[in-house]
Amino acid sequence: MELVLALVIGVLFGTGTFLMLRRNLIRVVLGLGLLSHGANLMLMAGAGVPRGRAPILGAGAGAVVDPLPQALVLTAIVIGFGVTAFLLVLAYRHIATFGDVDVLGTPMDPAPARVQARAAADGERTVAGRAASRPAGAPGGGGDFR
C-alpha cells in the first residue's frame, strides 16, 4: 500500500510540476491544484497505513486510525480552497486585463515586443531611459478586451 500511495503522490507532484511550467496561466493554476492534492495526500500519509476504523468513538470496537492528520488535511484543504479561489480571480483579472492567457513576464521586464504592446496600458516605467509610455486604450493596448 505504501508504494501505491507514494506512486500516486509522486505522479500528482510530477504532473503538477509539469503543468506549472506552462505559459498558459489557467494551466498553471491547474498544476497548483494537482500539487496541492499531492501535498494533502502526503500529510495524510503521515497517519501511516490505516490499521483500524474511522476515528469515531462508540461506532464499534477495536483500534481507530490516527485522527490528527485528518484534521490537519481538512484545515489544509479549506485554506487551499481560499487561496485557490483568490488565485483564480486574480488569474481572471490578469487574463481579462492583458487579453491573453499567456503568463507575461515580470513587471520589471524589458519585455519582448508582443508582451510590451499588451503591457503598454500600464504606463509603468521601466529602467531609466527605457520608458514604455503608450496612451492607455490605444489600438493593441491591453484594455481593449474589457
Partner: protein
Amino acid sequence: MAFALGMGLSILAFLALLAGAGPQVLAGRVVAWSVPWMPSAGVNLSLYIDGLAWFFGLLVSGIGALVFTYASAYMHGAERVNRFFWYLLLFMVSMLGLVLSGNLILLFVFWELTTVSSYLLIGFNYERPEARAGAQRSLVVTVVGGLGLLAAFVLVLLATGSLEVADLLADPAALRGHPSYGAILALLAFGAFTKSAQFPFHVWLPGAMEAPTPVSAYLHSATMVKAGVFLLARFLPLLGGTLPWLLVVGLTGVATMLAGAYLALSQRNLKAFLAYTTIGQLGVLTGLLGLGTLPAVVAAMAQTLNHALYKGALFMIAGNVEHGTGTRDLGRLGGLARRGMPRTAATALVVALSMAGLPPLLGFVSKELILEAAFGPGAHGWASAVFVLGLGLNGALNLAAAVVLAWDLFFRRSRVTPPHQPHEPGRAMAAPPAVLAAGVLGFGLAPALAERVLQPAVAAVAARPAGFHLELWHGFTAELAVGLLVIASGLVAYRYLALLVAPARVWPPALQPIGWYEALVGAVERGTRRLNDLVQHRPLRHHLTVVLLAAAGFLWVTLFLHWRVLPWGQWSPVGPEFVVVAAVVVAGALATTLLRTGLGAILSLGVVGYMVSLMYVILQAPDLALTQLLIETLTVVLFVAVFAFLPRAALRWAGSGYGSRGADLAAAGLVGAGAAALALLAVTEPVFPRISDYFVANSLELAGGKNVVNVILVDFRGLDTMGEITVLAIAAAGVFALLRLGKRGSQG
C-alpha cells in the same frame, strides 16, 4: 552656527592638547581615559593620547583653526554655506577622534566618518558632474579599504582578545607571532593605502580637488590622507620590523613616491599638480614607515610636520591665486609677484623652499633626516639601495615641482594673461598660509622646537625612548653631498621638464590606474544590468523551473547522502479498490496535463479531486472525504465560471509554443520522484508514540465529542480552525477588492 562651533572647537582642542595633555605627553606619559560603549562587543569610548596621537591631534586642530578662518572668507556668499561648515566640522571632529581613539572600533568609526564627511565635502558643489564623480570615486576607494581595515581589526580582536590600543601596545610581540599576522598585515595595509592614496589606490585623490579649496588644504595636509599614515605609524610597533612589513609597506611607498612626484609635473591644473605632489609625499612617509628603523621614524614624523604645514599653505595659496585671477590653469598663470600678488608670492616662496628641502627651512631638516634614514642601517642591505634611489629621485622631482610652483607661477617673466587682473586676497585668506609659512621657517630656524614636539611621537612609534637630535646644519656629511646631488638633478629635471613629462601626456588612460578604476566601475554597472536581464527579467515559468529544480535537487542530494534511512521492504498489503482508485487518479492527473481543451483539463482535475476523496474514504477518513468532495465541486465550478466569463479571444492560445519541454519533463520527474520518496518516509511508523493517542483516549471524556476529527478541529486545535476561517474571510475580502478596483475609470 556651524562655523562658530568649528572654529571654537578647533581652538579649544588645540589648546587642550597643548596645555592639558602637553605636559604629560612631553614627560613621556600617556593620557588615557575610557568609558564603556558596547562592552559586550568589546567596544569602548577610549581616549589614548600618546606622543603620536598628541602630535597628530595638534596638527588636526591647529590647521583646522586656520582652515576655518580661511574658509570663512573663501566661502563668503556661497550657496549652502552653513551646510558646508557642518560638513567641515564633522570632518574635523572625525579626524580628531580618529587620532585620539584608544579603541580600534572607535577608531574605525571615525575612520569611516572621515570618509563620509569628505564625500559630502568633495561633492559639495553637486551640480557639477566632476564633483559628483570625484566624490563617488573617493568614497568607493576609501570604503573598500575601510572594509579591509574592519576585517583586520576583527582579526586583531580574535588574536589578542582586545580592541584597546593600550592593551595591544602593552604586548607588542603578540601579533607578530600570530598565525593570522599575514592576513592582518595585508588587510590593514590595504586600508591604510587606500586612505593615504598609495599607488595604485591614489586614483581618488586628484578627483578630490573638486572640493572647495579650504577642504583640499585640510584634506591634503592634516586630515584624511594622513589618517593612513597615522594608522601605519600606530601599528608599526605591533606589526613592523618584519620582512613582509618591509616589502608590503616599504615598496608600496617607494612606488608611490616615484609615481606621484613624476605625474605631478605633467599636470596643467594647479590643484591637480598639488594633489599629485601630495601623493608623492605620502609615498615618502609610507616608505619611511615601511623601513621602520629609528632614523626612518624620525624622518617620517619630521616630514609629516613639514608636509602638513607647506601643503596646507600651498593649497590656500592656490585658492588665493584662483580667487585673484579666476583660473587655476597653470598655462594661464605666471609672474604673479609683479602683477599684483607680491605678498602671496612671498608666502609661496617660503613654503616652496621648504617643499624643495632647502635651508633654512624645516624641509631642509627633514630632507637631511630622510637621506640619513635611507643610508642608515636598515634591516636588509638591498632595501637601502631601493630607498636611496627612490627617495633621491622623489626629492629631485619634488624640487622641480617646487620650482614650478614658486618660480613659474610668481617670479618668472610671463606673457600669459589670466582672466582677471590679479589682486591680493583679503586678510582672512592671506593670514592662514602666512602662519603656516611662519611655521616652516620657525621650525627650520629653531629645530630644537620641532624636536620637542616630535620627540614623544617618535618615542611612541619606535616604542622606545628615542634619543635623536634635530639640527639645521649637520656639517659636511655624506647626506649633504647627496642632498646637493638631489638639488642638482632637480634643477636638471626642471630644465627639461617638457621632455620629461612627455611620456605621461601620451600614456593611454587604459594603462593608468584611473583607467582601471573606470573600467572596473563600468564593468560592474554593465555586468549587473546583464545579470538582471539574465536572471531577473524572466517569465514566471523560468523562475518556477529554478525554484522547483532547486527544491528537488536539494532534496535529492539529501536523500542521496542519507540513503540508508529510507524504509524499504516491509510493505502492507493493498486492497484492489485502492489500486483502482489510484489508477484513476494517475489517469486523471495525466489527462489534466495532456488534454488540449481547457474545459477538458478542468474536468479532469475534478475527477482527480473526487478520486482523492475516495482515497480518503479508503484511508478511513469519512469527514475528510466529504469535505474534499464539497471543496472540489466548488473549485470546479469556480474554474468553469472563470472560463465562462473570460472572452474567448483571450483564452485562445496564441503563444509561440512551450519552449523546451525537456527541461520541464526533467523537473517534473525529479520533483515527482522526490515527492514519492518523501511520501515513503512519511507513511512509516514513527519511532515515538503519536500524540494523537491522547486525542482518541480523551476526546469523549474531556471534550464531549465522539467524532475525534471534529473534536480536534473545534477543540484540541481550535486555533488552526480559527486561522482557517480567517483565511477564507480574507480571501473573500480580497476577491471583493480584486473585482471592484482597477476597472476603467476607477483606476487606483
